[in-house]
Amino acid sequence: MLPGLKSITRTAAILAASLTIGSAAAFSQSPTPSPTPDIEPSTGPGITSTFEVGVRGVDVNGNDNKYRSDLNYKPGFRVFDSTFLINNKEGHSNFFDSALVTASGWGGDPSGVFRANIERTGFYRFDTNLRHVKYFNNLANHALNEHNANIDHGFGDVDLVIFPESEKLRFRVGYSFNRTGGDGGFTTRAYSDEFPILSNVDTSSDDFRGGVEGKLFGFNLGLNYGFRKFNEKTNYFINGFNPGNNPANTASFSTFERRYPIEGTTNFGHFFVQRTFADRFDFTARLIYSLTSTNFQVNERITGRDNSNNQVDLDGFNISGETKRPQTRGDVGVTYRVTNAFRISNTLTYDQFNISGGNSFFEELRRRSAAGVVLAPVFTTTFAHRVTAYHRTTNLIEGDYQINNVFAFNLGYRFTDRHVQTDGSDRNVAVPVPTVIMEEFDNQTHSFIGGIKAKPLKNWVIFADIEDGKADNVFTRLANYDFTNFRIRTRANIKKFTISASYIAKTNDNPSQSVEVPPVNFSADTRSHTFTTNVEWEPMTELALSTGYTYQHLNAETDIIVPVAGLRLPGISQYFVRESYYYFDVHATPIRRLSIFASYRISDDKGQGSRVSTRPQDIITSYPMTFQSPEIKLAIRLTNNIDWNIGYQYYDYKERLVNAQNYSAHLPYTSLRIYFGRAADR
């Protein structure tokens, strides 16, 4: 575990223990609480706290790597879903009006969070958010199982706002950190072969930010400055002889080491302004400028054998360089309330960045032939420079009209103008003429949006919207495409039922042509339909039921050109999703001292069904699998303040693939949940 994460975990544990001890001390001196007939809101005075600590067991059958890649629950102690709230409702204390701490997932869980929110109304607000994720990835069906990770990711935010409720002046300061470390597997290419290598992952970033906001001459203004420092210090190496993936050639590594430190900084400024004139005309604008710079140094050393069976005594690389990315983002939005029922809005956004970077590449290659004859050393020096320039302007004009309390609609038009340009040059000192790269793309797209909101009954609402046109930023291809996205949602509360349903359809067609002569129509089409419905029923305080169903139907079909045996063959790429997701939750309190939670969740994706590719140039895939998890928990009220929980969760995962990575896992669990203060009135 990262040193930083150990201290975070330790700090969180100390805080949690302090809260527990402190709360216990506070509670122990209080009058014996008695259930009150009127349950007051949790915002009442005093302490409201729940703390759960438990022990989980884990028994995995089947593919343990897949279990860890998906779930990664470990046996042992854990802190789960704990909260601590102090709320000084009666006037202000010297320190704070409310302090809320929540924590969950520390211990055996693969992810955990610690949040604290402390504020004194009118004076300050403090928020912190500390998180960790134990990321494990070791999959047989991804990158030949050679891109693996067993890393800890710790990240957090700390923010302080002074005078948060002040209209005239507010101050903000904040800090965020990001640490990733652990072991990983990676690959590298050399001598027409691919080699799995090991890595010590080490990346970090620290963000600092501060700013001031307030009101001046009637305008709400804000100016913030931020600074990020980031580092990449991951090293790559091998432990001994490495023959490579390609058995057909003689290449191998005897030793390999790569050091690749990257250091970078980002400075950014953020300005916003907002004002509402005469309660009718709202104006808001934002300007962001950021400058990111990096410098890097690659040092790589290889010894071994190349694909001509020459002994490589040294293949050394020194690559250094730097990059810069200035970026400007400007946005302006206006909304005018023509009448109480009719509004028009316009939103203009402009985004521009320019990435420029270059490197100096130096390689020294010293070899001996298979017979031991020293070959002439080869020195390669190249210089590369690249520029990626991008700007996009988008304007959205829209109007909305409220016909009456039952019905409203909105219409809009979006125009986007985009320019992408890549320039560069590669120069080898041995070759007098550099290679120049220049490509440029411009496109302009138009789309129309429309929507309605209907409220036929007091407790029934329907939302629907549609967007149709040409746009970027959805497909992987850069060219224009035609799309239609439709969405409808409805929600109704009928007595003790809450019913919601939605349907989302996305249709995208990307017509293109191949470079072959004569050109062949080359399309990429995606059709996606998602239907979901949920029902919640609470017939009585002691019983609540919740169930839902989601079905996603996706077909993606793309014309591709695939090299097969030296030929370039037109083929087709198809991807299918036929996923049903179903869940059912029951919460019951049959007797005062016993609460039961039971749940069943299942994801079942039928995938492509019986479709198989019959030609090497066709790629037909899906991920057919079932992933189900029943769960049950009994909460036995031992005292007013302590529940004893006994739980069991089962996971079952099956793939309908060749070399399926199936697993099942039994996770028994027991814990004590301790209630303090008003939380005991449950």
Binding site: Y124, T180, G357, T476, V562
Partner: protein, 374 residues
């Protein structure tokens, strides 16, 4: 009765009626009988760990406390210079339950701030002047009722005070505003409903109504994330239940880590990370670059060109279960784009060439190799 009592008490203490606060008077009358189950000293002791942290903050800014009262507060409506405002204590006489819940919220505490003295606070700050409503014995048509207002009108009411901060500035630019989802869909101005205890999952943290009292009082939300968001965005629960997913149901991440629920200039109400970077870069900082050799779609289209950020059955949350499939959909001799073709020697009949990222390992960008080998 309560109104007459309040009036009499105000008159007896020479307090102008439109400044009279029954809450203040009740506090004075009960000052010797604490309604709190714990003494102030006990609270301080029990919160020692938290106080240590807040003490640092307090000490650092302690000197500023003297200045806190000197700043004006937003004035959503003109100050009550007329008699059309009757005061929150009058509303409490009939709307006791709402008042009881409201007085614990931040809105309900504004009257205690020096800078809000003399301004409209309490019920009438949102519902408008109440004299006509009182004089007509509670005619609902004589008061601003949010039940009769459309969601945009409700949002305009809230934004009259809350629009000045960057988080809320751009609510009118976002999808919620556009689709007539108003503030009160997610926030409860009168304070959250009393908690209703339920046993819940051993894996996913509970909703606010169960075992998590107080959390929804943050920003007066009706419920907490992600359950609040999923009450409308129901399809996301299935997405976050897939094998590879961001840890939202587990409570480690919130929807608001990536999305701004109050709208914004970005599509899908996405947040920005450092500067103008996409939200993904906040946590995945090593993918940001910039690199000498950029993989253009990453910067031009965004991370969602290849990944499905909510969840996927595909490893690395990719859009396709086979990496090469994702690559071929661009790298296939298309006239209108610059993605270079796959070289002819990459024989797809051979397993060795069916895993693109084995060789092109630095697929998010490289400083040393134009073909992302390193």
């Amino acid at each position: 009765m309560a109104t007459r009592m309040v009036t009499a008490m105000c008159d007896a203490n020479h307090i102008p009626r439109n400044h009279c606060r029954i809450t203040y008077l009740l506090k004075r009358s009960h000052s010797n009988k604490s309604t709190m189950p714990f003494s102030a000293r006990q609270i301080k002791l029990s919160s020692l760990a938290l106080v240590t942290l807040s003490l640092v903050v307090w000490l650092a800014f302690g000197a500023v406390s003297e200045h806190a009262s000197g700043f004006a507060q937003p004035s959503p409506t003109p100050a009550p210079a007329n008699d059309n405002y009757v005061g929150t204590e009058t509303c409490a006489a009939c709307h006791e339950a709402q008042f009881k819940s409201f007085e614990g919220t931040k809105h309900g505490q504004l009257h205690s701030l020096e800078s809000w003295k003399g301004k409209v606070v309490g019920c009438e700050a949102c519902h408008g002047p109440g004299k006509e409503h009182v004089d007509s014995s509670g005619d609902k048509m004589k008061i601003r009722s949010f039940k009769r207002m459309d969601s945009k009108a409700i949002a305009d009411t809230c934004l009259a005070c809350h629009a000045g901060k960057e988080n809320h500035n751009n609510f009118r630019r976002g999808e919620h505003w556009r689709n007539n989802v108003g503030c009160t869909e997610c926030h409860s101005a009168h304070g959250p409903e009393p908690p209703n205890f339920r046993s819940s999952s051993i894996t996913f943290p509970a909703n606010v109504a169960h075992q998590k009292p107080g959390q929804a009082t943050r920003a007066m939300l009706r419920s907490n994330e992600p359950q609040l968001c999923m009450s409308c965005h129901t399809e996301t629960k299935a997405q976050f239940s897939k094998p590879f997913h961001h840890k939202v149901l587990e409570g480690t991440m919130n929807c608001s880590d990536c999305h701004n629920p109050h709208g914004g200039f970005e599509q899908k109400q996405a947040k920005l990370a450092v500067g103008a970077d996409a939200a993904c870069i906040k946590c995945h900082s090593n993918k940001a670059g910039p690199f000498v050799f950029e993989h253009a779609p990453l910067k031009v289209e965004g991370c969602s060109a290849c990944h499905t950020p909510h969840g996927s059955a595909n490893p690395k949350m990719l859009k396709r279960s086979s990496v090469r499939q994702l690559c071929f959909e661009c790298h296939s001799s298309i006239t209108e784009q610059s993605a270079p073709d796959v070289p002819s020697f990459h024989n797809q009949a051979v397993l060795r060439y069916q895993n693109c990222t084995i060789c092109h390992a630095a697929i998010h960008g490289s400083n040393s190799s134009a073909t992302f080998f390193r």
